[in-house]
Amino acid sequence: MISRRDFLQAALATSALWGASGFGNWARLAAEQALTQDKLLEFDTMGNVTLIHITDIHAQLKPIYFREPEINIGVGEVRGLPPHVTGNDYLKLYGIEPGSPAAYALTHVDFVALARAYGKMGGLDRVATVINAIRADRPDALLLDGGDTWQGSYTCLKTEAQDMVNVMNHLRPDAMTAHWEFTLGTERVTELIESLPFAFLGANIFDAEWDEPAFEAYKIFERGGAKIAVIGQAFPYLPIANPKWMFPEYSFGIREERMAEVVEEVRAAGADAVILLSHNGFDVDRKMAARVPGIDVILTGHTHDALPEPVVVGKTLLIASGSNGKFVSRLDLDVRDGEVKGYRHKLIPIFSDVIAPDPEVAAAIDAERAPFADDLSEVLGHTDSLLYRRGNFNGTWDDLICNALIEERQADIALSPGFRWGPSLIPGQAITREDLFNCTSMTYPNAYRTEMTGETLKVILEDVADNLFNPDPYYQQGGDMVRVGGMGYAIDVTRPQGSRISDMTLLATGEPIRPDKSYVVAGWASVNEGTEGPPIWDVVESHIRRVGTVRLDPNRSVKVKGA
């Protein structure tokens, strides 16, 4: 019998044009527990062009734990397709040995035990070591940053992302695109963009008033005798998912026709290969790959998926490089005569205890953090539970935040946005201020307290659910479901908007939520201008200090159907 893994390899091997993925090798090494820096970096250089992709770092300069999702549902045509494969199904699909470093890096299975065994991941000083090693093979490799680099930590917030710009400049990227960067506000984000010694690209960023392109759409690089066009695509739904009042000058959107025009433009300018550096989210990119001809590679971002092999749509390779500095993708291309004739790919996991930090970047990181050392390391409490965020419906970090909102703000119900950023803590760890900010740091942190009717609550849940489970990816925004404290509900992900949510129940009393009754609701990260309330980190800090040691029961208040 042929396994799925063998089948994938065989399918790739049948095409003489395409090379095999480098992941098979890594999986085997991982299964043998023979992980060393040399073996992690081992790569049989091929072709004439190398791309290095990193994305969604979320300002994580230092190694972290990051638990991959247990629940990551795909709907419509992508149901059951990567990246909507998790846990043991994921291990089976890619032929990964349970308990191996690869299983730890890529799934939630046995996460706590494996985290203790294999340690933290990421750290931009380790990432630098990997990039330097690739550049030793291929000095002119292109380093491409998919965005969500300038948000997500205490130091990033306090320095308005100067720490990230300074450290990333040591890594010498060739181009980046953006999402959360714009929540720094127009003035600051444009100031930082103007300071960059490399290209900032966004084909879909338009001037909101004149509906004209506001930034460079692409840059053409000469590499290995070929012209490589890199097109940037920022997160399409920035003014909807994030506060548009912070960057009212700009309009975004998927703008598929515009992308097709830009691809034609770079081909007309002689591009031999077209690379899309995207913050669309994986399913949007998969649809775009099928509808916009002429894109050779999409370096995907936004949805934080890590896949050990490219997903191939027609002749387009989709690369998914994870988040939080956990992975770097290397993609070697053989580009000749106006086309990509072959490739070799490897998703490189950044095991922080295996890969040595680069001294120059380690020193740069230390310098950025030094002024804040006391604040960062201050212990607020401890956790007996695994604290994680990623997953479609709930995570213990958000359970903790919702508990804090309900108790500290005397609310019936708490809402916490379905962000996908935020590293994990394992049981027994201290919770420092740095850890708290890693899961809350943002420029619109006010914790509101208001009254909402049951009907309004249902409208909100239905609206967010459609952003996640609309069967057409172009209508998805790429976050997870809003997290709810104090209220349970059922969701049928296969239903249309307006009829997905049912059985809304106030957990305190067990009574059904009544459409006409008002409830006190506390939440944070509202996109509305002028939202009042203390910053969320103050609310959660006082809660953690009060309880001392956090213990959370498994959250079973959301019943999922149709998955």
Binding site: D211, N242, G253, P417, F419, D466, N470, Y475
Partner: protein, 141 residues
Amino acid sequence: MTISRREALLVGAGGLVAGAAVALPLPVMAAAEDAIAAFTGGAEMAEGGITLDAPEIAENGNTVPVGFDAPGAVEVAIFALGNPNPEVAVFKFGPMAGSQSAKTRIRLAKTQDVVAVAKMADGSFASARRAVKVTIGGCGG
């Protein structure tokens, strides 16, 4: 006289293209399908022949940019099927028009389909449809 931003854009377009678009308000009608039938006289509408550009999700439902390109059209009507008044505008193109395209901004009361119907020189009709979602947003990331 004060000129709105929207009017200025249309005037600007008219200055560039001889015989270009003129937007005319239509009388209010009850149902969207009736409104379309009134424009076409109930004729069949072909797919293709007109492209409609609109965002998948509106950044601001109060001012949603829409545009169309309908080579060879003599008239193009835009309908917002979920608005209380579905008729948005009719653009008429004279024989000297350099292109049969226009852009404007429309208000959408809720998530709905926007339809553009082109009347061609030979009296045939073509249409294009886009679903535009109006959302409260705020939880992406």
